[in-house]
């Protein structure tokens, strides 16, 4: 049972310890209530989201802490969901009502310098509100919480990445950072890690969203990387400190990645890769999804290709194309892409291909008359003459004594 009646200065100390400057007793209570709810629920608990939305975190916590559970809580929860579901929700929250756990989570957060961010805070990312009642009840952040509100793109993919996938992840992340976009990912081995690393290497902003608490980095092999992200970027989790990552929490973590980022790009993913669940979560939120193709012979790309076949995703082959997924940068990036296209080989307007056909018929040395060319090309002499004129202007054809010859294509 949580000791909700602990002295005011003790409660305030717990809250200031996690990077908050409460202006009032209400601020303190809201922070504590949110911290409590982040312990009570598993990530993505929509029933909790509905209850907190209806009566507020403080009132919801107060009701849940009474013994026996007051009729009012059942009613408040019932107000949002069906009767049996309300009772089931309360039944699953009750086993976690433990004062020690709340204090321990807050102290652990304080020890690692984590900040508690709750809805209504300046740093609370509005993008998470798109998750509706499934939004996190709070976030625990190591690093700069302001980064959560940066325009960013999620670069996610398989842990079992190939050299190809890691290379592409690196190129993508570096290119996104160059375009002043943050790189959001899951801190995992393989694609995630490479995306974070490339962003850091380019002095860009990067956000790692963890499935467990931010007090103990997972995977342990990424302790160094995640420590650097916490220093230069942000490591964030919705689960409180002390929480171990589980498969369920990994899956639910993916919805947070998808929601924080304006778009999600999957670099490599096997058929059952968790990265695809991030992509599905992004689609569900109406966020654009990009998929990087790879060799069809590579199992590490099979999930990407299946997603490309079955879902509404875009084929992405470069950082520019990834950046173009974001509505806010799309126009500028497409302009950049167009410029490349045009530069690569513009050509004069030749709607019926006549000039191409005349050029085909011309020989570099053998001089041909207009009539000969008319037969070769299958066009009237008049049109051949006009095409030859245009080609001569372009320096592609030349009139000699006994007829026309082709000139070499200009260099450059």
């Amino acid at each position: 049972m949580i000791d909700w009646s602990m002295p005011a200065h003790e409660r305030a100390a717990l809250v200031t310890g996690v990077g908050r400057s409460p202006d009032s007793e209400g601020d303190v209570q809201e922070a504590l209530a949110r911290a409590l709810w982040s312990i009570l629920v598993e990530p993505g608990d929509g029933d909790a989201g509905l209850l907190l939305g209806a009566v507020g975190a403080i009132e919801a916590a107060r009701l849940l802490l009474e013994e026996p559970v007051p009729r009012r809580l059942v009613e408040a929860t019932q107000g949002e969901v069906a009767d049996t579901r309300a009772k089931a929700a309360i039944a699953r929250w009750l086993p976690r009502r433990r004062h020690d756990d709340l204090v321990r989570a807050l102290r652990s957060a304080q020890r690692v310098g984590a900040t508690l961010v709750v809805p209504g805070d300046l740093d609370w990312p509005a993008s998470l509100d798109d998750l509706g009642p499934h939004a996190p009840v709070a976030l625990w952040v190591r690093g700069d919480p302001a980064l959560l509100r940066r325009d960013g793109i999620a670069v996610v993919g398989a842990r079992a990445a190939t050299g190809y996938g890691e290379h592409v992840a690196m190129e993508l992340a570096a290119g996104l950072v160059q375009r002043d976009l943050a790189v959001v990912s899951g801190g995992a081995y393989g694609i995630d890690g490479m995306a974070h690393r490339a962003a850091l290497a380019s002095s860009g902003d990067t956000v790692a969203v963890l499935a467990g608490g931010v007090d103990r980095f997972y995977p342990t092999g990424h302790d160094g990387l995640l420590t650097r992200i916490a220093q230069q970027g942000a490591v964030v989790a919705e689960a409180p400190c002390g929480t171990a990552p589980t498969r369920w929490r990994f899956l639910e973590r993916n919805r947070v990645i998808a929601a924080l980022a304006g778009a999600t790009v999957v670099v490599e993913a096997g058929r059952r890769s968790g990265a695809l669940s991030t992509a599905r979560a992004a689609l569900k939120l109406g966020r654009p999804v990009g998929v990087v193709p790879g060799p069809v012979t590579s199992a590490a790309s099979a999930g990407c290709h299946a997603f490309l076949r079955e879902q509404h995703a875009e084929c992405v082959t470069s950082a520019a194309e990834a950046a173009a997924l974001l509505p806010s940068t799309r126009a500028a990036v497409l302009e950049e892409l167009d410029a490349v296209e045009v530069g690569a080989g513009s050509s004069h307007w030749d709607p019926d291909g006549l000039r191409t056909r005349v050029l085909d018929a011309l020989r570099p040395r053998r001089e041909q008359s207009v009539d000969e060319l008319a037969r070769a090309v299958g066009e009237s002499a008049a049109r051949i003459r006009s095409a030859l004129g245009a080609l001569a202007l372009d320096d592609r054809a030349e009139a000699r004594d006994r007829g026309w010859v082709r000139r070499a294509a200009p260099v450059g």
Copy 2:
């Protein structure tokens, strides 16, 4: 000037020489007129198509061969297209009215054993009618003309293919042949050649569509391959014998590949690859187009990816997926694909992930009570008990003296 008044037996001999058994003088004339028109026009000449559709090939040829050009021809052509366009069309056909060319084309065809196939013949592929006035006026075929009417898929791609692309082309073609589909391609180096070769190796049907005449195989390096296709499959061209391939004819040839095949798959294509023009032609005809992805770092796949981004094409990674492009085989193939999917790892219905979460919380050796699990999972004891029951039935959880443990996943 063509000697249209040559003796009947000479005319009949020319026609029987190209594999035809004319039943009447009309049959002979139709064949000769079509052969003539295939010389007069460049591939895809829509004005000729409209004229022939309006007055028939025989009448159109008769009018064109009169000197001076009769008012009636201008009128007939004008009936279909605008005045200046009709005159321009006639002007471009006139330079090629040469009797010698017609006889030479027919004799060359006879020498290589080519068959002349014209609209109305049993072997004329109805699929070409989708090209409207841009359909070939006739086809010259070495090999079995009946193959032109087989259900088939075009497998096309870059000449400058990589080992990856050639491997995929081979797998695709072999798999299509296994599904009793013909493989249509352009006989070029790279992807085309590999697709033909794999089809032949699997004793399947394959059709090579050439840009020049079928009397001289192009590219010369594929002389052996095309000879084998002519023996076991079919080599076809709309241009008469004696015609050299040009860039324009390559482009127009692509529309014939697209029209003959029920669907087109591009395996590898650089940004300016001609294979993409085949894909565009297929889309224009309302035929499904598949694109095989590849490494984004490979220039040989850049055109594929761009097409996938910009056009209505499907990502294709296997022969089954290629075959599924065809409406006629789609249902059967998708069933086959589904079977593979289900076999790969079906799982019980677990809509809210409760069983996954309980499994996450269970330990192989440490026994945990239902209450402990309820706290760990964040669920009521009742629901934990029900999930444990389901997991026990699946042999994934086991009740011991002091609580529950996880069992290893079943093998297989």
